[in-house]
């Protein structure tokens, strides 16, 4: 049997702190080994299913996975900025927040590794020019560049840099909203909703297992982000001058992001004919409900309302209808190919 689960007395670390609990759960649940998962489950069944799909079904998977690999890579790069932000004087410089942020950084890197290994070993025929790293002269995958997710990840980098490099509490609120509510809480969770539907027709077992571990890690990141936002909101409500405007910043950022997210939802569903039956309307509704839960139940936001947010999502659905992504994909395919050739 394992040793007793009784808590061990700590010194400078506050083990009753929520951030400590999140950190400890990252140690217990988030330290899975992506390579071992690949060896344990194996690629064979997934390759067999993948090779049985028609090109349109593969394209739908490729559109979903494109934004996951580029998104995980982007958040892994930005994790260092989160570590800097949560150790700023705007918070209480608690070691527990920094400990969790360090675990988050490792987990986002591992998610990037999982998708990198999976794409390379199963889906490579849909990603012939995938391997260029964005820091080595590469760009996001053309499919990511073509849809709202690409723009959202670029915005994320800007917001995180502003927050980490001397940003005030409203900058931090925008960055945390974009990252933890927008990217992780809606875009990624919407992606899990889509993969659940797509798995019914195309059960990619190893991919599903990877998604389960990743979504579990992301759940802790979202809880962390909401705790951070809650701290900022409480200081605003306590009347601390420097924190005024936090709630409005959260609301404005969430409304901006729902446009990018809804465009991405259209990109992975109706624009490709939705061969694996995700359903664009249901996907957007699920995302909007998740957003409403986070903003108006968990954070009890006074700015905006759930009804206004649903309307913003509905407007974004109208805007997305009929978007043509092919020309953008073709343009970036060309740029990517030129870079691969060393031009």
């Amino acid at each position: 049997m394992d040793a007793s689960t009784d808590q061990i007395k700590a010194g400078r670390i506050d083990t009753d702190n929520t951030y400590y609990e999140l950190y400890q759960k990252s140690v217990e649940l988030g330290t899975w080994d992506a390579e071992k998962l690949m060896h344990k489950v194996g690629f064979e069944e997934d390759r067999e299913v993948w090779n049985s799909l028609d090109d349109n079904e593969k394209e739908q998977w490729a559109r979903l996975i494109s934004y996951f690999i580029d998104g995980e890579h982007a958040v892994a790069q930005d994790a260092r900025r989160i570590m800097k932000t949560v150790s700023s004087p705007w918070f209480d410089r608690s070691i527990e927040k920094e400990m969790f942020a360090s675990a988050l950084a490792l987990e986002e890197a591992k998610h990037t590794q999982f998708f990198d290994l999976y794409l390379t070993n199963v889906m490579v025929d849909k990603f012939p020019q995938y391997e260029l790293d964005t820091r080595r002269g590469g760009i996001q995958i053309p499919r990511t560049e073509a849809c709202g997710a690409g723009e959202m990840f670029e915005r994320q980098g800007t917001l995180q840099a502003q927050a980490a490099d001397g940003g005030d509490p409203t900058d931090i609120a925008r960055a945390a909203t974009n990252y933890h509510i927008g990217v992780e809480g809606i875009l990624a969770r919407g992606g899990y909703f889509a993969k659940n539907r797509m798995m019914q027709e195309a059960p990619l077992k190893l991919l599903n297992k990877g998604f389960q571990f990743i979504s579990t890690d992301e759940g802790r990141h979202i809880t962390f982000g909401l705790e951070v936002l809650n701290e900022l909101i409480e200081k605003e409500r306590d009347g601390v001058p420097a924190y005024q405007g936090v709630e409005n910043a959260i609301w404005e950022q969430a409304v901006e992001d729902i446009g990018y997210i809804t465009d991405t939802a259209y990109f992975i569903t109706e624009s490709v004919g939705d061969p694996l039956d995700v359903d664009f309307d249901e996907l957007v509704n699920r995302g909007a409900r998740l957003a409403g839960d986070m903003m108006f139940d968990t954070l009890d936001l006074d700015a905006g309302s759930a009804t206004e947010f649903m309307q913003a999502a509905a407007d974004a659905m109208e805007d997305a209808q009929g978007s043509d992504y092919e020309a953008v994909i073709e343009k970036y395919d060309h740029i990517y190919s030129a870079k691969m050739a060393g031009d």
Partner: protein, 86 residues
């Protein structure tokens, strides 16, 4: 942290007894206290929030989850058992 059987926000198909039995069996296999296994499975589902918001596990899973009868708690338990091998 919320007790596994108190988590809300998902459709649960297994009975409390089935959950208890599955936790006991897994704990025995893993050589861990059942309370710890139950705590970890609950955290997989709710990330400390009390609601089953892990879309990747609590939502409809891939079509390979016959063993879990589509109950998110059993799906999370299966995931935890695999995690202990990784």
């Amino acid at each position: 942290m919320t007790e596994l059987k108190d988590i809300e926000g998902a459709e649960f198909t297994a009975s409390d007894d089935e959950i208890d039995d599955a936790i006991e069996e897994a704990a025995d296999d893993l050589g861990m206290p059942p309370e710890k296994v139950e705590e970890e499975v609950a955290y997989i589902l709710d990330s400390g929030t009390g609601r089953a918001n892990n879309e990747g596990v609590a939502g409809a899973a891939a079509s390979d989850n016959e063993d879990t009868n589509n109950d998110p708690r059993l799906e999370a338990l299966e995931m935890y058992k695999l995690r202990q091998e990784l």
